[in-house]
Each structure stands twice: as C-alpha cells, then as structure tokens.
Subunit: 429 residues, 2 copies
C-alpha cells in the first residue's frame, strides 16, 4: 500500500522508499524509524514508522513536516541456498503450499511475505538435514483460505509422485486455516501409502524467534525417517509451550483455536502419535507403511455445500442452495437435528436427486437419528446420518465420493464405508 | 405410528392397543410383551414387542400368526398434582419450554412424550420444594430445534413478568439442541435482572433413573434462592458423573458434544459458578441482582443469516443469501478469514446495505483482521470483526441489534458494545 497525497509528495521529494530508515521532523521534534507501508484504514495524512524499540508510531503530516532518508533498505535479493546430499541418508520430500509456516516477516518493513523458497524453509531448521536428505519444492504459495478442490488434487498428485519415486515420507507445509480440509482430502485421495504424509503448519512465521515452525518441521521429519506410519496426519504443537507435538489423523482433526500453537485437536479420538525431542510415542492404532505403489484417487466433484442449521434458518434459503448443488452436508444441532421446515427442504432436495448427509455441529460425539421424532422424520425424508464424522471431513468426503461414481447408491455406500478412519469405532468414543 | 395391513387386522381382531401386554403366537412358539408403536422404517409385516427383560423384539407376522391381549395398558389419565405453598419461603418460577428435560418415557410403550406438566416436572424433584415455593407453567412444549425468534420473545416476556412479580429467580427447562441460542437471546432481551434466569436441560429424560434433570433442576433452584446472581446462565452437568454442575454465561456457552451430560462448555471464559450439593462456588466475575424492575427489550428482526466459510464455498451462493437478508454473520476460518472470492461477495453485500460481521469457526480464540492481507481486505470490503464472540451469539445479537434500530451506524455501535458479557476482556482469554 503506497502513500499518496501530501505524504506521498513528501516521501517522493525525500526519495524515500518503504523499508528505508527515515527521519520525520515536525516543528518541535523528530522521530527516526523504518518507513512502513500505508495502512488502508489509517488516515491518508499519517506516516507510519517502526521505531528502534519495535513499536510502530503514526505521525500526522502537515505542510511544515520534513523528511529525509537516514539509510536505504537492504537489498531484496537473497541468494537461493543449495541443499546438501548425503548418499547414506534416506530422502524425504517437502512440498510447500504456502501459509504462515512458509512465510517470513521482513523486519525492516514488518510485512509478512508468503513466498519463502522451500530451500530457505529447510535452512531455517538445519537440524533436519542431519536426519535425512531433503527434496524441497514450492508447489503453491497461497494463503490456505484460498485453497480450492483443484489444489487438493494437484497436491495429492505431487505427494504420490514423491512417494512413488523413493521419498520415505512427505512433509506438506500449509496454512493452518483450512489445513484440516486438505488433510481430509489427501486422506481420501491417497491409498496404500508407503510413508507418512505430514501436513504441518505454524501459528507464528518461521523466522520469528517464537515460531512453532521449527519444532513442527523437525518432529515431522522424525516421523518420516524413523517411524512405520503410513497415514496422512496433521502435526502441530501439543501445548502452547515448545515441549511436544502431536500427530492427528487427517480425517479427525480440526482447528479449534484461532491463534494458539496447540490449536489443532483430534476430535472423538486420541491423537496418533506424540513426538518430544527424539522420542516418538504412538497413542492409538494406525495404518503402517505399505510396500506400494501409492494409489492416487484424485477425482473429485466440487458441486457440494455444507450447511449449518440454526434457529431461524429459512427453508427458502436451504432450497436455493439445494437447487445449485448435487450434495449437501448438514451440520445439525445435537444428535443431528434440524427444524421441521428444514426437514421439508431435505425431503424436496432428496426427491430432486441431491445427496443429503447429516453430521453434528457439536463436533464432539455422534449423530443419532433414532432417539427423537425429528431424527426419524429426517431419515424418512432421505437424509443419511454419518455417525461421528466431522462436518468438514464429511463435506470433503462427499465431493470425493461424487468424483468416484455418479451412481447415488454407490455414493451412499462409499459415504458409509470407513475409508480413512473418518468413523470412530464405538469403543473408541 | 399405527400398524396397518395384515398386522393392523390381527391387532384389531384381538382388540389390542399400543401399550397393552399381548401374546403373539406363531406356529411353534409364543412371545409375550408390551405392544410397541410401528417403526416407520421397519417392515410393515413386523410387530414390535417390548419383552419383560426390556429388549424389543420384532416378530414377522404371517397368515398363521395369532395374537391376544394378556392385560390392558394402564390409564393414560394422570392426576395433575398441586404444588404446596409455604408463606415463609421465597418463590421461584419454572417456565417450561419442552425438550428432553420436560419429557418422560412411557415405559409401557417406550415412546418419549414431550409434554409433561410443569407440576409433574417439579414433583420429579421433590427436594426443591424444601428450598422454596414454585410457580410452574408450561409456556411451550416443543423440541428445541423448532424454536424460532418469536419463541425467544415470548419467553423473555414471561421471564420478565415472573421476576417483576416477585419471583427471586426463573428456571427455564429447555431442549439442549438450541439452548445456547435461547440463552444468548434472553441475555440481550432482559436487562437489569433482579435474579438469575437459569436455562436448564438434560441429556436423559427426567423420569429415567440415569437422568441428569434432577441434579440440574436442584442446583438451579439453589442458585435462584441462595445466590446474588443477576445474569442469564445455562446450567448443566460439569462432568459425566452426577457430581457437580456448572453455570455458564448465557452468551459464552455452546453445546460441544451430541450426547454427554457435560456437553455444554463455556468458550473463551471460565464458567460463572460451580454447584456441588449445597455448595456454590463462584469461579469468575458476574453481574449481581439489581433492585429492578427488569427491563424488557424484546424487539428482534429475524432477517439475518449465519454462514460458515469453507474451501469451495461459492461466491454465487453467498450472493444468493445476501440478497435475501439484512445481516450476515460469517464464521470464517482461523482469525476470521474467507477466500478472495467471498471477500468480493462481502463487498457487494455491504454496498447493498447488508450488515456483515466476522467471527471464527474455530470457536475458541478471537478474530483478528490485522495480521494477514485477507483480513485487511475484508475490513476494506466493509466487514466488521467481533473479537471472541461466538458465531451463534453474534447471529442472535445481530438480529436483536437490528430490532433495536434501523440506523446502520447504531447497529454497528450496539454490535461492538459489550452488553451481556459476549466479549471477553483480553486478560481473561
């Protein structure tokens, strides 16, 4: 965001660029700091400096304000490092997709840059090169809220390629916002895994002293090199402190806090593994590495919606969406309920050939359509309950199932089959 | 559900009614049990009996099957009990709305009946008559998934009436599915409370031996009679066992499990109080009883939607809903994000005068629109972030705010003012 108007003129005259250290002098006093970008929602006449103490200050510019450059910013061009190779070591692949973990903060401007090279990411955790060789590439460089189903497909293909060409495991740095959706998609698209596929994120960018990226990347590397895990997992901090990480099954994990480093929780199941330094402890049953090759089932039909029911949800709105899509996952209340009006909408949708599946917005626990009349009415209307499957996982699975077959009975059969641990067996709940 | 066809004819000839003990004899053997209702999704030729051991059995009826009544069901007419009155005791009000807590299981038929009288509900917990006099009434008799904004209004009026005519507290038995929505609505609609308004539910109906209704009702009564609490709270079990209950602030509580008795959790805040037998412990700051009178602000404009963002959410779908409503609460990912396409939809909606507010689907933690470019773009588009307010609470509050004023700036001001503890102060997170 560039400065304009009076401020723009002042800076142009001083030949000052973003990132330069400048001095801004008003009638009485002067302040020196790094010139920061203009904030969209601050006044156009405000100039923002990052002071040596790290704080930003806004200075209101008027006709008498003067500015001069104290020192120019450092060069933007950083050298691309080369990763070492030791023929005695196993090889892992790192396929970066973007997000906080693959970004860095420019301390001179304060801006977060999303596009760090995969090599730089690896060199921020040099210890992992002691454990293995690393093939690193940047597949995407996007914030995870912009991930689409086509990105899941491209990622699944890239992962399969790496595993089928000798990598003992794949690490996928990824933004945390939609990490649980991507891990679910990979869980369904990749079968017969020869090694773990570990989606890692961080809540603090990887060049910050307090970053969780380093520990998460290192723990993921250990699981790739030293374990027999053959599943898609999400690996993140197990608690706020830098003490241990947890690997969660890709279909049973959800971001449950907007900012904590231990934001990710296994829902309705124990995490698969705990990694603390070199120690790996498996906490629940898991699928082991297969002999391969990895099977890729990347077809997906994105024409589905997820709808959360709430009091006041208009049947008309449900109908509008139902006319546009082939499948709907409803996140109902409690055991999976909706109002009687929405039962009517479900009935109409099913009659028109729309797949309607039921999950619970409680997130924890299972749906059960047999306890109350509402649930029984929903079954009669044609809705299909999905046990303790997470709404988000059910949404991803439905699109994937619709990609596998166009036969409604086959879709239903796929949805009710436990393919990647998305259903918890009763004794585990 | 009545039986029809061959089974209907057999039962009619035997003069058997639901709830009767009957004997069903096939060629070789006979079974005796209580005649249960026909299940919608079981075969029409199946007769269902509840055996003396408590299990249900389905018997396939053919031309040779015989049936006879062993004993007729007990009378359906139960006497309405009269509640005692002791002039030395304080008085509380119980306003029943329906749900599991206000239902009973007919052991003869196995069916759950939603309409227990308020008096019967009280007599299922006779200990509470030792603590106070009780005025009891059934305001609604509905499953909570069928609650509408108009029900919240009627309930708020009834609560205000009771408090303003001398009740020291009001207990609201309510279905658990949408209990958190109702408690939020009451929190905004009722100001200057002279006593606690305690929404209670149960996960097992109140005449079952394992019911949590009894303990919840008794603890709610204690808070009404013996505490200085002046807030709307939800009171439910604190753990699975019958050990203690927790009172949660009405705007900060969510059903987080579909079936556990301790399903309700305070989000981003400690519960207000813990009740264990006669012991009441306050765990966080709370508003005390006022001298009154209770102020009723029951106007509400139901023309709003809550939309959960997810990868693949079509901008076209957002636009369709945005054209129908005056306000939208978005439950974004992470710090409150949506994809760039949905940022475009938000921009269009705001331009058309729709209120758009942002919360996080993580549920725990706060939104923050200043960390990433997506958040900053959303602010520029006109979305307003709501800190750590729950999506459900924000949805209720938005409809309430739109009921208080038609001036968009006033709506925004109301939304950003902490009215009923819906924002947690920073130090408490």
């Amino acid at each position: 965001m560039k400065y304009s108007g009076l401020v723009g003129k002042l800076l142009d005259e001083a030949n000052a660029e973003l990132g330069d250290v400048i001095e801004v002098r008003k009638t009485k006093d002067a302040q020196t700091g790094i010139l920061m970008p203009h904030h969209d929602f601050s006044d156009a006449s405000i100039i923002t400096l990052k002071l040596p103490n790290g704080y930003n200050v806004g200075i209101k510019v008027d006709q008498n304000t003067k500015a001069k450059v104290v020192s120019k910013r450092e060069s933007k061009n950083r050298k691309k490092p080369v990763l070492p190779r030791d023929p005695a070591k196993k090889e892992i692949a790192v396929i970066s997709t973007g997000g906080t973990i693959a970004s860095y903060v420019d301390y001179r401007t304060g801006a977060v840059h999303p596009a760090i090279s995969a090599e730089e990411l690896i060199f921020s955790v040099p210890e992992l090169l002691d454990l293995c060789n690393v093939r690193a590439k940047v597949l995407y460089s996007i914030l995870s809220e912009n991930m689409k189903v086509t990105h899941w497909q491209g990622l699944a293909r890239a992962v399969a390629d790496e595993l089928n060409s000798g990598a003992v495991g794949v690490i996928v740095p990824h933004g945390t916002d939609t990490l649980g959706f991507t891990s679910a998609a990979l869980s369904f698209m990749l079968r017969n895994l020869t090694g773990p596929v570990i989606c890692v994120g961080s809540q603090r960018s990887s060049d910050r002293p307090s970053s969780d990226a380093i520990m998460n990347l290192l723990a993921a590397t250990r699981l790739c090199v030293e374990s027999d895990l053959g599943e898609v997992v999400v690996l993140m901090h197990g608690e706020s402190a830098d003490s241990f990480t947890l690997a969660h099954r890709g279909t049973k994990v959800r971001k449950m806090h907007s900012s904590r480093r231990d934001a990710f929780k296994s829902i309705n199941i124990e995490p698969i593994a705990r990694v603390e330094g070199p120690e790996m402890t498996f906490l629940s049953e898991y699928t082991k590495r297969s002999k391969g090759p990895v099977e890729l089932k990347d077809k997906i039909d994105g024409n589905a919606s997820m709808l959360h029911f709430y009091p006041g949800f208009e049947a008309e709105h449900f109908d509008l969406i139902a006319e546009k899509v082939k499948g709907i996952v409803v996140a109902g209340t409690g055991l999976g309920h909706v109002s009687e009006e929405i039962v009517g909408s479900i009935k109409r949708a099913v009659k028109n050939g729309v797949h309607v599946y039921i999950t619970t917005q409680c997130l924890y626990g299972s749906v059960n359509m047999n306890v109350y009349s509402t649930g029984r009415d929903m079954i009669v209307a044609g809705a299909v309950p999905l046990g303790d499957m997470l709404p988000e996982t059910a949404y991803v699975k439905l699109m994937w199932a619709m990609g596998q077959t166009t036969d409604p009975e086959e879709v239903r059969k796929i949805m009710l089959t436990n393919i990647a641990g998305e259903f918890t067996s009763r004794r585990q709940i």
